[in-house]
């Protein structure tokens, strides 16, 4: 099963634009889970810290020229469309480019949003561990320039109030579908 999930998520990598159907089988042991990383404020962050609120999780990087801006726009739009107050939902942006995305860089990044997400970084090892929990992958594309690209899983993960991974979506999922899924999580009791 792990191989199948990894394969599906690999199809949702930055090189692929093919839409994928909403997945509903993420709620199983060994997929998702708690983790610890470092916020844009250089503070430790545990997923358990935001227990009680639905979480939207995305792996990306601040220098990304395409998938990340598109996906973050889609996520913020879905939160608004779901009728949620910004404080009702936690958006996590996990950097897959820890070398460039220092807490200071992430702090500037989140300040560019009216409702800032929580941006997370860590050592490469820490981030790889979190990515593996979510069957996500990332890989730097060698370019010989400072403006290198990072291929990465572009799925949007939805985590419920109890910290359980519930669904994941393609980055280009319809905003209304994302919003419906988010609304369903908001309607659930903690």
């Amino acid at each position: 099963m792990r191989i199948v999930l990894t394969f599906v998520l690999a199809l949702l990598s930055a090189c692929q634009r093919a839409p994928a159907p909403a997945m509903s089988e993420a709620d199983r042991p060994g997929f998702g889970g708690d983790f610890t990383l470092t916020t844009q404020d250089n503070q430790p962050f545990h997923l358990a810290d935001v227990r009680g609120r639905p979480v939207v999780l995305f792996f990306g990087y601040t220098s990304c020229p395409d998938m990340c801006p598109m996906t973050m726009s889609r996520i913020t739009g879905a939160v608004a469309r779901a009728g949620a107050k910004p404080s009702d939902v936690v958006t996590l942006f996990v950097s897959v480019d820890p070398k460039r995305d220092t807490p200071a860089v992430l702090k500037q990044y989140v300040a560019s949003f009216k409702t800032p997400p929580i941006a997370l970084t860590g050592t490469d090892e820490e981030i790889r561990r979190v990515a593996a929990e979510y069957h996500a992958t990332y890989e730097i594309v060698p370019s010989g320039t400072p403006n290198y690209l990072v291929n990465h899983t572009t799925a949007i993960f939805l985590i419920d109030r109890r910290g359980r991974l519930r669904q994941y979506f393609a980055f280009d999922e319809k905003p209304e579908t994302l919003a419906d899924a988010l609304r369903a999580l908001l309607d659930e009791k903690g």
């Binding site: 726009s73 739009g77 500037q108 400072p146």
Partner: protein
């Protein structure tokens, strides 16, 4: 007998309804400014649209200063800008397509961007 439907009151009601259907209350550029802030456009374009967002310097194709009408690569009209927002503006590395936005939302953001434009120094090209 048919009743006239074009009384001043009916016209006002009709206009108000049309405005609401077109995207809500307020001016397009105000709605656009709000959307621009919500969706994180400032990451690349900067809070004031000067092309100086925190990620701008790390892009191969840097964003333009919206104030400079000569800098637009695909037209500086509201229509052209809205099309660039929805469809993207070129090869990888340039502005990607934001198809999650409706045509109206893209038009509102474009209206705000147009409001930032300044006449070129030295007059028209």
């Amino acid at each position: 007998m048919l009743r006239r439907a074009s009384s001043p009151l009916m016209i006002m009601v009709s206009m108000a309804g049309t405005a609401l259907l077109a995207g809500g209350c307020g001016k397009a550029e105000d709605r656009g400014r709000q959307l621009y802030a919500e969706r994180g456009c400032a990451v690349c374009h900067g809070a004031g649209g000067r092309g100086d967002g925190p990620s701008a310097g790390r892009l191969d194709i840097p964003p333009r200063d919206f104030a400079n009408v000569r800098a637009y690569r695909h037209g500086s009209s509201q229509h052209d800008i809205a099309a660039s927002i929805r469809e993207g503006s070129g090869p990888r590395g340039a502005m990607p397509p934001f198809r999650d936005l409706t045509d109206e939302q893209a038009g509102d953001i474009a209206a705000w961007i147009v409001s930032l434009q300044r006449p070129p120094a030295g007059g028209p090209p």
